[in-house]
Symmetry: C2
Subunit: 680 residues, 2 copies
């Protein structure tokens, strides 16, 4: 048995010493097709898999596998039978093979089990990370390299294992690149990113053997891979933890959210939420984290499924090995896998309902992810107001109460906060906040790099992009008969034959998307996307009912068209994509992004010759944050915020929140501040 | 004495019967160059004016006139003398002439008094509105026109006077166009916009004589102006007031903001605010409403003046007389003049500090505008967070406390909510929310118009744009030595000679603006604007200190280049403009927009051949909301939200909110919801 096969075996000693503790609760097989996997279901899936393999099976992922949409819609619309519950399981077997299996949990059997080709790599897991860290901390060659840095006394070396961005079409090994940093304290929150070291070992991601050690460039040119690692100087102390701050503001007064009568929502079993005419299920899985299913307002379906499908983060530093920094934070790792356990009074303010999730560890046992989703109400200012100026002493104000479903994912250095926000006017907003710590690179002092921001004498933050994809599976007044259209607002054209003597006229040109493909941004035309149901006409506007996407206008992926960055993530090239719904087409860049060579998601689906008009289209919205780091983003980054919204557009016959109680002091109990001078 | 002269006299009987009550407080002459006019100062200004005129003088506007910037900076930086306080006064004199005067309040004298050319029109005032309404309600010809509509019993006619959009280069008369509507109840909030009538009288805006009555088109073509007005049918009942709703939601639980220790801000006399390292003055005037002056963080100046300079609202309906609907809501009327008196527990939630303002009435007496600005703190989620994934049980979270300065203006049918929002990371966000009621036009039933949304059998909402201009007078670490630059993020070019074997490299191209002019949007290049101080280098980034504008990407003005809409508002053509600072150049489309023929603001200032590099530039940002009305926007519109932000970009050496106390349950007192099922 060669090393590639022998290392498939779970290294229990190393793994469990470093693992989070695990729990098993006595939970049952779920009923709803949208409920996240329960502990029982995970245990069942791993047991069924193990029964079909020898004992050396190692689990990568056990996640919810959704039933066919046709079955689910039949269940929802026609009271049909609840579809069978299923799990998708990625495993390594003792024979050194990789399997992608579908387990039918209801029928307790293997529904499908395929051997995964050698060049396809599963996502990075908790196990991978812990094994890689162990090698980084103990391998003699790596320790020798660290020794060459001649670190001062008290220096503690920390390694971050990264997925290995594709750069070789012939590479079929699973690889991890590791970046090394130093801290000078035992504080658990010491910021190692302030002090990067000038080398990067690459490990075999199956055997955890050290393959080679790359030298990192310290100037604009490439590193000499044969040069000896030099002693490192000019260490920077730049910590975010409170103990490291010279002073702390003393003039911030407490602010609390009080709901004496409790929250306005109810939660039924299997994560079914009801709030202010909205009904939906909060799904959750290893890859996407929180997902919304079967979103309805006042009983009318609007969305079948809403999710962040993936995000890729390519870096602009062209110097090997930094060109390999292109994470797919969902596909390579997972927003569920990296979800934070949210803390009461820290991550969410007010009256908080938490949802837990379950993952599988490498042994196939369920691991509780406690409080990975929080839900609470907020007051977000004014929703609508009008004052008849003839009687200014009377006016009507309705406040904008919102329901926020929030998750936070920590993907190594960065944090992503995803907020799914419902309001009373039937709007669904999605806010994403990027925070956490910049990924840094070492450098000589005094260097200005054209692709990075200097953060200190020996540390640079390379430019990069965060390119997100939002997947919208619409159900505007029906689960199938929807169309995606785009609308351009343009001045009258001569061919319109509309008299316009003063040149002020403009109109809306609507284009229905008939085949899969993409649509580009056009700011001059004010272009936007709508999802309509052409089978249902709004009796007021006399036009099809619909929802409009108030999208994020942003820069496409900046890498060259023939780069791996783009070939792996074609979704980055255009802001709007439409595909025809097919079961199991959820992930924008394909099911397996880790070391992918091509985009097997939209790269394939958007090129099929199919009808999507009035026939189950899926809308994908790409938006990005081109991050030119600021010194202000270090040692931890104040949030950069992205916000998009889905708003009814001729879906209702009038304002859907006219029936919200008017804002009034009796309920809101605001406090008048009379004298504020010199109070502090 | 002809009618044009005789009507200059204040018609006290009609005016005061309809006026808000007035108050005079014993307030003094102010000291700060940024303080809004006090009652005493308004009284003094009108007394000085009246002393120089006969008794027939009628006041249009008395507003704060700012001292020269050089004097103010000398006062701020070098402890120089406080500049003289001044007021700008627009008046009609008994001789039928219009005057634009500057009154030096400190020295109690007229500093300048110019006769205003005939073709220049002052803004529309409270007096104009009341006089016009009186004519609309009483003129026999108008009553005869109403009679032809054969309105059902109980119908009550309501007229909205509008400024008259320019359509004739030879027109020098002051004109108002009036639109007529019907309600069927005595409710003070009955929505008359649901039932527009098919004619529009035009009045002389000085004499208030009826000039003619335009017929309104009811189909796609133009109206026959000689045709008899026909009886109106198909009235629509569509009210927003609570009594008109069939039901009211009963499941919204109260939510209160509690600050047991009070707010975190202090307010010194003359509106000087201190909050979380920020210092600034809340200015206020008739035209702009709230204005920020001398904005500093941690003692360092950032902005000298921040204001919404103007907004124009051109309508897409090409059929005369609707082509004349192009309001300049600040220049023609004023966000101060139309400011709402905000209600405790209605418009602002929490612990609220209010600011009052003072205006002058037509007699030159001060009128108190009570509670026109509210200020309060909110919690806006997470400001930054990081979890070291190795120790997930420990993490640092800082919440995003914000200070919101909010005003609401009611300009006839629409409401605009302006929110100036400071946070602890030295960001200044500006949110604008549009709400209120759509401006409607009558139509025959069953009509679909290519430039309007059908709202009911006899009512349409024409498409339109709200084109805003934000004026930023920067003071990045100094009141004068600033530059405006734009940055494009682009892939490496061949000429860069940077090895980029994998095609992932990109860089920032910075262009300094050296002469007044405009810059266009470039989404593909991710273009953004920065204001930098080239005289001060950030020791961490080694680049000039600066602030970046996270702008609003939006559609330019849609009207044809030779239209009056564009000629009057050149600022609508491009998103970014730079001018050289000159005293008294505050208003983007010029001082007088009412019936203007050309843009006398940027239309002139942006074409001057001056140096703006490192020499007192002013940045103007144009952004728009192209409003294609939805049925959901009626009878009152849920807010459309626009948001832009000014963020430090190499202004600080590190994250400026590291010193904010960490979020913790002891202070935040969140409430864990354990069981939410079936509670309601």
């Amino acid at each position: 048995m060669n090393s590639r096969v022998s290392f498939i075996k779970l290294n229990q000693e190393i793994y469990f010493k470093r693992s989070r503790s695990k729990y098993i609760e006595n939970t049952a097989i779920m009923t709803s097709p949208f409920a996240p996997l329960s502990a029982q279901e995970i245990k069942l899936a791993s047991t069924i898999i193990r029964d079909g393999h020898d004992s050396a099976v190692r689990f990568k992922t056990i996640s919810h596998y959704e039933a066919p949409k046709e079955q689910i819609v039949n269940y929802l619309e026609k009271n049909g039978p609840a579809p069978d519950r299923k799990a998708r399981v990625y495993t390594y077997s003792g024979e050194g093979k990789k399997y992608n299996s579908i387990i039918n949990l209801t029928q307790q059997k293997v529904e499908k089990s395929e051997i995964v080709p050698e060049e396809i790599q599963f996502p990075m897991t908790d196990y991978d990370q812990k094994m890689a860290e162990h090698v980084c901390e103990n391998h003699p060659k790596i320790l020798a390299e660290v020794a060459k840095c001649k670190l001062p006394k008290g220096a503690k070396v920390i390694a971050d294992p990264w997925c290995y961005g594709t750069d070789d079409p012939n590479e079929t090994r699973r690889l991890f690149q590791c970046y090394f940093y130093v801290v000078f304290s035992d504080h658990p929150e010491a910021n190692h990113y302030a002090n990067p070291l000038p080398f990067s070992p690459v490990l075999d991601g199956e055997t955890f053997e050290l393959l080679w050690i790359s030298k990192l460039p310290l100037e604009e040119g490439f590193a000499d891979q044969d040069a000896e690692t030099q002693p490192v100087e000019n260490f920077l102390s730049n910590d975010y933890h409170i103990e490291a701050q010279e002073s702390v503001r003393s003039d911030l007064k407490p602010l609390q959210i009080v709901q004496e009568e409790g929250p306005s929502f109810t939660v039924a079993p299997e994560n079914k939420v009801h709030w202010q005419k909205w009904d939906f299920t909060v799904g959750w899985n290893a890859r996407e984290g929180a997902v919304l299913y079967d979103v309805k307002f006042d009983g009318r379906p609007i969305f079948y499924r809403v999710s962040i499908s993936d995000m890729t983060v390519p870096y602009a530093d062209p110097r090997p090995p930094f060109h390999r920094k292109q994470a797919f934070d969902l596909g390579d790792v997972g927003f569920g896998v990296t979800a934070n356990s949210l803390g009461l009074g820290c991550d969410c303010l007010g009256h908080i309902k938490y949802f837990d999730g379950w993952l599988a560890n490498a042994a196939g046992d369920p691991v509780l992810m406690k409080n990975v989703v929080c839900m609470h109400e907020v007051d977000n200012g004014i929703q609508w107001k009008h004052t008849n100026y003839r009687t200014p002493e009377i006016s009507s104000v309705v406040r904008k109460r919102e329901l926020i479903i929030q998750t936070v994912a920590t993907v190594a250095n960065y944090e992503y906060i995803v907020m799914l926000i419902f309001d009373q006017a039937a709007n669904l907003r999605i806010d994403i906040r990027a925070t956490g710590i910049l990924s840094t690179a070492p450098s000589k002092d005094g260097i200005k790099l054209p692709f990075a921001t200097r953060l200190g004498p020996n540390v640079q933050a390379p430019y990069h992009q965060h390119v997100f994809s939002l997947r919208l599976d619409p159900a505007i007044d029906g689960y199938k008969g929807n169309s995606v259209v785009y609308e351009d607002v343009v001045p009258f054209e001569e061919s319109d034959n509309i008299p316009d003597p003063y040149g002020c006229g403009f109109k809306v040109n609507q284009t229905t998307i008939k085949k899969p493909g993409f649509v580009d941004e056009d700011v001059q035309k004010g272009r936007y996307i709508k999802i309509v149901n052409p089978n249902k006409i709004n009796p007021v506007s006399l036009k099809p009912v619909g929802y409009r996407l108030w999208h994020i206008t942003s820069q496409p992926i900046l890498m060259k068209p023939n780069s791996y960055n783009v070939k792996r993530a074609e979704f980055g090239l255009h802001p709007f994509w439409v595909t025809k719904y097919q079961d199991d087409e959820l992930f924008v860049a394909g099911e397996f992004t880790n070391q992918s060579q091509v985009d097997t998601g939209l790269g394939i689906w958007s090129k099929r010759d199919e009808n999507v008009e009035n026939d189950d289209p899926v809308l994908w919205h790409t938006f990005s944050l081109t991050h030119i780091p600021r010194p202000e983003d270090f040692p931890v980054m104040p949030v950069d915020m992205l916000s998009l919204e889905l708003k009814p557009s001729g879906f209702f016959e009038k304002n859907p929140c006219l029936d919200v109680p008017r804002s009034n002091q009796k309920v809101n109990k605001s406090v008048l501040i009379k004298d504020t001078c010199c109070k502090i």
